[in-house]
Amino acid sequence: MNDTQNIIMVGVGGQGIILASELMAEAALLAGYDVRKSEVHGMAQRGGSVSSHVRFGREVLSPLIEFGRADIMLAFEKVEGLRAASFLKPGATIIMNDVEVVPTTVSIGMGTYPQDVQERVRDMGFDLVMIDAQETATRAGTVKAANVVLLAALASFLDIERETWLEVIRRRVPKKFLDVNLEAFNLGYGITRA
């Protein structure tokens, strides 16, 4: 089971994490892998923390990743990336969207938003890649495609052909939004490996 790739996606409800993880899982299936994915629906739109686990490989059984065994993290929001860091293998890569969404708890004085998320993550030994997905998505045509920019950044780290990803986007995204999402993917792909 050592060939299984464990991907964790984290962020805030409403950021498009579930759609991104759907596309991720579909791409893995189309590439010929077994795949399992898990997240919790229901509260996702209410601004709470959201995480999605995607696992693919020759044969996958559990839909959940064990603590300390995720190969790579896609963090749609900074502090959510820090919160989920214990899922990662030592030295794993975190692709982090350069966005801070301040929780309501902070505004009412129940906690503070850490100002040194990047430094902390690096101190823990992770390989941190920062991305401004909002800016890139805006260039593609709409800030709403930030999730696809992030997915593309992740895609360039995985053993799935670029064309497979594009095919999945063509299948899953409604025609009206297809061009802008394909452009967002193209701008995001390899953004981290320039």
Binding site: G13, L29, L61, P63, L64, G68, S86, T105, I108
Partner: protein, 581 residues
């Protein structure tokens, strides 16, 4: 022809399995994690699907259809089965004509529930067979085959799933629909009319049925043995089997897909073939206790927790004593909590601001409004189950009768009111309880993702239908004082409360305003903070709007989040929150 493989959630797979089984009638009330089962069934033209007002109605609809001669399914979350328990336990006695399947979607870990009851106990309690899928393929196959079992043994069948199965995705080899002939219904009072004389005979019949089902369980393909190399044997079911197989690939497994009645011979054989036997199951020691009654020595809940969800790391710890040692987040890093909150523009926010202002006791209910129990609103005193707001308020009101000055309001949503609010409201009138019943009518079942209900005017298939008016219902039940207010209008809402508080009898306030997530294109002016006027009193922060952000000493509105409801502008005592020009 190669089989088609689709990536499906467990809920989607159950819907597919029902379709393949030739189901003609399906009914449900929404509830996480079961909601998407019926949403997906409703996409099939061949199946009549309905959102029922509650789970009891849903099961009775499905049960009626099965007796009348077509395959039928009812799906619900775990606590929904409590509501449907009355028909469930007697439908077991009547049996079926065509197949009847009940899906119970349990929520270990309580991602979106008020308790984490283990509904596997309903199977022996109702004396009906139970199947427990562990992934989407099994969810599809077991749902399909459950109809065969139902018809062969003349019994409803319980398919019990959990959140990680319902909302997990995995590949499914899908099949085609079997068109199943409608079976003619002929009157059979001894079987379907459960008067005591008939029911006594049926009780004997279902005890015999259980014995036959126990024999069948020995041969069920869903109970399978996977041989490993080591001396460890693991008996498991559902999602726990997937965690266990991954964590202990060397072990031998007896994976039970049919968990009532149990295949006792198969279990004894397996137990005798291994050196050390574990039962790995989520929540209660359902299998473990049964094994102990069989006299089998087994390790279970002393190694694996009874509370909360199982995870692969908990299974590893229980089996091998190995604590996960991930990279630790340094102790001096404080990560702020991010619980779900009322959305920007949520019509409940202004309502609870007024409730707090009037210093009222609040019996709450199940829905988004329960999020107001958390800071900063902290508006709620109780949340028990669907509909309990009103009936518990009757109890509060009676208890408060000799405590002057204490007043209680019951708060529930429109869909919850349809589900089980009517009887409670009738009680306020019948038994003269000084309760103000507040229905937060946001025109949808919001918490579970915006499903239609009897008040919205549409069916699950999007067909227009009669829209039950809550104010009319209240008047029809005998409530004399019924107010309809717009909760965006704080003054009007406050006035309605003042009028109701002056009364010595029951009253109703319907706070009517569509869910903000349902009318994103509404044309409102956004708010902005006039920094010259802002006195930093933080009154605006007390309404808990995610769009109002406090950064250092500055309070501002995040334009990308602001909905433009204007509640903050009514709350600010200094006129510092103003509409954007």
């Amino acid at each position: 022809m190669s089989e088609e493989v689709k990536l499906l959630t467990g809920d989607e797979a159950i819907a597919r399995g029902a379709w393949e089984a030739g189901v003609k009638v399906a009914a449900a009330y929404p509830g996480t994690p079961s909601t998407e089962i019926l949403e997906n069934i409703a996409l099939y033209d061949e199946i009549y699907a309905e959102w029922s007002p509650n789970e009891k109605v849903a099961l009775e609809v499905a049960g009626g259809a099965a007796i009348a001669g077509v395959r039928a399914l009812a799906s619900m979350k775990h606590v929904g089965v409590n509501v449907a328990a009355d028909p469930l336990l007697t439908l077991s006695y009547t049996g079926v004509n065509r197949g009847l399947v009940i899906v119970s979607a349990d929520d270990p870990g309580m991602h979106s529930s008020q308790n984490e009851q283990d509904n596997r106990y309903y199977a022996p309690f109702a004396k009906i067979p139970m199947l427990e899928p562990g992934d989407s393929q099994e969810a599809k196959d077991m749902t399909r085959d459950a109809f065969e079992i139902s018809e062969e043994f003349d019994t409803p069948v319980l398919v019990r799933v959990t959140t990680r199965v319902c909302h997990g995705k995995s590949p499914v080899r899908v099949g085609v629909r079997a068109e199943v002939e409608t079976r003619e219904f002929t009157r059979n009072t001894a079987k379907y009319v459960m008067i005591p004389a008939h029911a006594r005979r049926r009780h004997v019949a279902i005890e015999e049925r259980t014995l036959r089902l126990a024999e069948y369980a020995e041969t069920s393909p869903f109970n399978r043995v996977v041989r490993g190399n080591g001396g460890i044997g693991i008996i498991c079911s559902g999602i726990a089997s997937r965690y266990a197989m991954e964590v202990a690939p060397e072990a031998s497994f007896l994976i039970l897909g049919m968990t009532h009645p149990l295949p006792e011979k198969k279990i004894r054989e397996f137990a005798a073939s291994v050196q050390r036997l574990y039962v790995i199951e989520e929540l209660e020691p359902y299998l473990e206790d049964r094994l102990r009654v069989m006299g089998i020595e087994v390790s279970g809940k002393e190694a694996f927790p009874r509370c909360g969800e199982l995870t692969p790391e908990l299974v590893r710890k229980g089996l091998f004593g190995v604590e996960p040692a991930p990279v630790q987040i340094p102790a001096d890093v404080s990560i702020p909590m991010r619980p779900p909150v009322l959305c920007p523009g949520c019509p409940h926010r202004g309502f609870f601001h007024i409730v707090n202002k009037n210093k009222l006791h609040v019996t709450g209910d199940i829905g988004c409004y329960t999020l107001s129990a958390l800071p900063p609103l902290t508006s709620m005193d109780t949340c028990i189950c669907m509909g309990a707001s009103i009936s518990a308020a009757v109890g509060f009101a009676k208890a408060f009768e000799d405590q002057p000055g204490k007043r209680v309001v019951a708060v529930l949503g429109d869909s919850t009111f349809m589900h089980s609010g009517l009887t409670g409201l009738m009680d306020t009138v019948y038994n003269k309880a000084k309760v103000i019943t507040c229905v937060l009518d946001n025109r949808t079942t919001a918490m579970t993702g915006h499903q239609e209900h009897p008040g919205t005017g549409f069916t699950i298939k999007g067909e227009p239908t009669y829209s039950v008016q809550i104010a009319d219902v209240a008047r029809a039940l005998g409530v004399k004082h019924v107010h309809e207010v717009d909760p965006y209008d704080l003054q009007a809402t406050d006035r309605a409360f003042k009028e109701c508080l002056a009364l010595d009898e029951p009253s109703v306030i319907v706070a009517k305003r569509a869910c903000a997530l349902k009318c994103r294109d509404a044309d409102f002016s956004l708010s902005v903070v006039d920094q010259d006027q802002c006195k930093k009193c933080k009154a605006c922060l007390k309404i808990g709007c995610p769009a109002i952000v406090s950064r250092g000493d500055v309070i501002m509105v995040d334009k990308s989040l602001c909905f433009g409801c204007g509640i903050c502008r009514q709350v600010c005592p200094f006129g510092a929150l103003v509409p954007v020009e």
